[in-house]
Amino acid sequence: MRLLQVSLRSLLLYSLILVLISIPISIFSIRQIINEEVDESLALHTNQFIKHIKSYEYLEDLEMDLRIWDQLSYNITLIPSEIISAGQMYETVSMYDSIEQEFHPFRTLSSVIIIKDKPYLLTIKMSLVDNDELVMALGIVQVILIVLLAAGLLLLNRSLSRKLWKPFYNTLNQLKAYELDKSESIQPEKTNIIEFDDLNKTVSHLTDRNRKLYLEQKEFIENASHELQTPLSIFQSKLDNLMQIPGLTEAGAVTILDLEETAQRMARLNKNLLLLSKIDNDQFNEIEEIDLSALANKLLSNLKPMADIDDISIQASISPLSIKANSTLLEVLLTNLFHNAIRHTNANGKVNVNVTDKVLTVTNTGNPLKMSVEKMFKRFSKEGNGENSSGLGLAIVKKVCDTCRYKIAYNFQDGVHSFSVTF
């Protein structure tokens, strides 16, 4: 649910409750006000009436007159009363209205007055607004109010979410598309809204900082690899000199060879790390037309002697293919794929290289993977304990494929590992 819908929902609910509560309250208060007004005028009328009637001293035959009076006057009745005590009483009664032919609420004021020592009951009535009508009128007004309110809020909400939230969605989309290793910094839209500007500032700051850290780390790896080359050279050169010492014993010679192999392993690791960070840094960006089939054939023929040691047969069916690529990267890709295949083939196994229709497939017989496919492409994930393997070969393959936008797929079936790269 969108944020605006949440707030809209609350707003709508609140207004609905408010309107519903306001209906009885307004009916009650309107009624109250009307009653007070009516009571006031009833009291006024009664007073005037009493004043007038008292001034007519000569009224002899009041009883007779009253009967006529009663028929003439609609709102005032004056009838002889048994109750002597003087007093006034307001009440609301429903009476039949002969003109409109229906019941109507009336407000009455009954007062006992003494005329010529005889008590009379004076009742003055006034018509009130019909309760039902009042409720109806108020209800209609409030329903219209609710409809207008809801429609207005919905419309406002829609245009607000379009206009007001545009910078927010803009920033969000940029964040979604953001890739630490590729994208430049995020360029947020300038708004006049404090929260958005604040958000944008924070996002820019965060991404810039991350990018800076990332670049620093990348640079560190590259520098570290560079700096290691010299001590490695010194180490190797000392070993080369150590070998020349006359009277070297066999045990000494074996130790030197072990040291040399270790030094070599370090050198390879270092070289591959350097290669990875160079690919990361886009240092291989010169593109040229390369005859992939010729390159593959050349590399495979160089590898044949190595494969022969373990009686691994290499079969190649390579149809002509030229692609635009960086020559170093392409060579790195093929070399690592071929090395990987030969390295993980058991003795007397088979390596098959196939190039057709922009797809290079390298298959080799071997044991099933012990690790997950995803892990296989990660740095330093090694299958078994091949001492000569740096654990970086397939990570480099993946990196090259990602950089050049080639698609790499792996599957294992019937004891055959298969890597295919679609150019």
Partner: protein, 224 residues
Amino acid sequence: MKILIIEDEKQLVKSMAQFLRQESYVCEVAYTASEANEKILLFDYDCILLDISLPDGNGLKILEKLRENHKADGVIMITAKGSFDDRIAGLNLGADDYLPKPFYLPELSARISAVIRRKRFDGNNKISFHEIEVDLLGKTVSVSGKGIELTRKEYDLLIFLIANKNRVVSKNAIAEHLSGDDAELMDKFDFIYSHIKNLKKKLTESGCEDYIKTIYGLGYKFTA
């Protein structure tokens, strides 16, 4: 023959000089670019080993200076950067070879002798060791004047061993020299062993003395 080592890492210079002096090279050393600039103008060297990243300047500038002064010294660039651009720039400025760190000293030694030969003999390129004679231009080998057939790898191996004569060369150095990056695939050294065995056989069969000595499990030594 005189060699100038331009390199700021004293330990590395020490090892390089120690190794090369066995080959009866005369080694001089410049630890900084300014030292190097002085030396290249005053003396002629058969080969200059030039580290590109020096504390007081880029080695490529030294290369430029050499060419400006029409010096014909052979130059091998040595660098830890291994950057493709540096390599192209260096070779364009007239460097003869390029060796990325870390390297094997026998490899360096082989490169130096190749550069010196190229500078010295201008085409008529022959090296010999007792009864063995190698024609580098025709890529042919003869023993006591009689030609023998060697495969490409055996030929490369022989040149490498002769360039490092009287010195122990490890199996790793040979493997790296013969197959470059592919060397890392070799868990065993059967590959080297079979090449050495074949070369030995071909040489001794044509009446050559067996100069290739095995040094325990470490490597080989080409010596009379």
